[in-house]
């Protein structure tokens, strides 16, 4: 079954202390629903984008490391869920519930290559799956 990533975006000035009890409860209920449906493979919440480090290759072959997120934007990924779904429509149905529960905007992207047991190995790894 295809795997999808449901991503939540947060504004860079997001204050976690403003998340009320009703939101926490709604997120909890959604996680329980995903687990009961057997679709949830992995969930993670990230530290603020301001704490990210960016790494860029330099012409001399060195890698330069700078503070802050790679993409210049006012919002960044706050967390994501990797789930299994029949198709994009089913993934979008979960993402819709996530957007409502978390009170944030989001994005769904398919993960064609995944190291999870039910996933398809990346082309660089496909020699592993040969008999």
């Amino acid at each position: 079954m295809p795997q999808y990533m449901v991503v939540n975006y947060l504004p860079d000035n997001f204050d976690p202390s403003t998340v009320d009890e009703a939101t926490v409860h709604a997120i909890d209920v959604l996680n329980e629903e995903m687990i009961a449906a057997g679709v949830r493979l992995l969930v993670g919440g990230l530290s603020p984008a301001s704490s990210a480090k960016s790494l860029r290759a330099q012409p001399n072959g060195e890698v330069r490391i700078t503070d802050g997120p790679f993409l210049e934007a006012k919002e960044h990924v706050g967390g994501f869920c990797i789930l299994e779904a029949e198709d994009m429509d089913e993934a979008l149905a979960w993402a819709r519930k996530s957007a409502i529960a978390c009170r944030v905007s989001g994005e769904v992207r398919e993960i064609p290559y995944s190291s999870l047991p039910s996933g398809t190995a990346h082309p660089s790894r496909q020699h592993e799956r040969k008999p």
Partner: protein, 116 residues
């Protein structure tokens, strides 16, 4: 042990068919090394951002769904690892190797929480 996101970024016109054998081998070697070190928790490659769907929460619990990625940018996450590392320096050392193997810029961020 803390967990880190090591995300590679591709320009939106990225053509995966240009990934040569040497790059495949470098990525394979890096994955082997991460596996041998017990660091690799997840590795995944994403479909091009153009095929993403975006969801915006609207008033009254409505959700507007549109085609394309959420962030207006010329580059988007192309794939990522979730790695366990002793600290940020160790995660950055993996990130450095990812830049070289994938020929792509990388962002490293720590997870606050991870539910397996």
């Amino acid at each position: 042990m803390p967990q880190y996101l090591v995300a590679i970024h591709h320009p939106d016109n990225y053509d995966p068919s240009l990934e040569g054998e040497a790059m495949m081998r470098d990525i394979d070697v890096l994955n082997e090394e991460m596996g041998a070190a017990g660091a690799r928790f997840f590795a995944g490659g994403l479909q091009p951002a153009a095929r993403a769907k975006t969801l915006r929460a609207q008033p009254k619990a409505e959700v507007l769904i549109t085609d394309g990625p959420y962030l207006e940018a010329k580059e988007h996450v192309g794939g990522f690892w979730i790695l366990e590392a002793a600290d940020l320096d160790e995660a950055l050392a993996w990130g450095r190797k990812a830049v070289v193997a994938c020929r792509a810029p990388v962002e490293v961020r720590q997870f606050l929480e991870m539910l397996g």
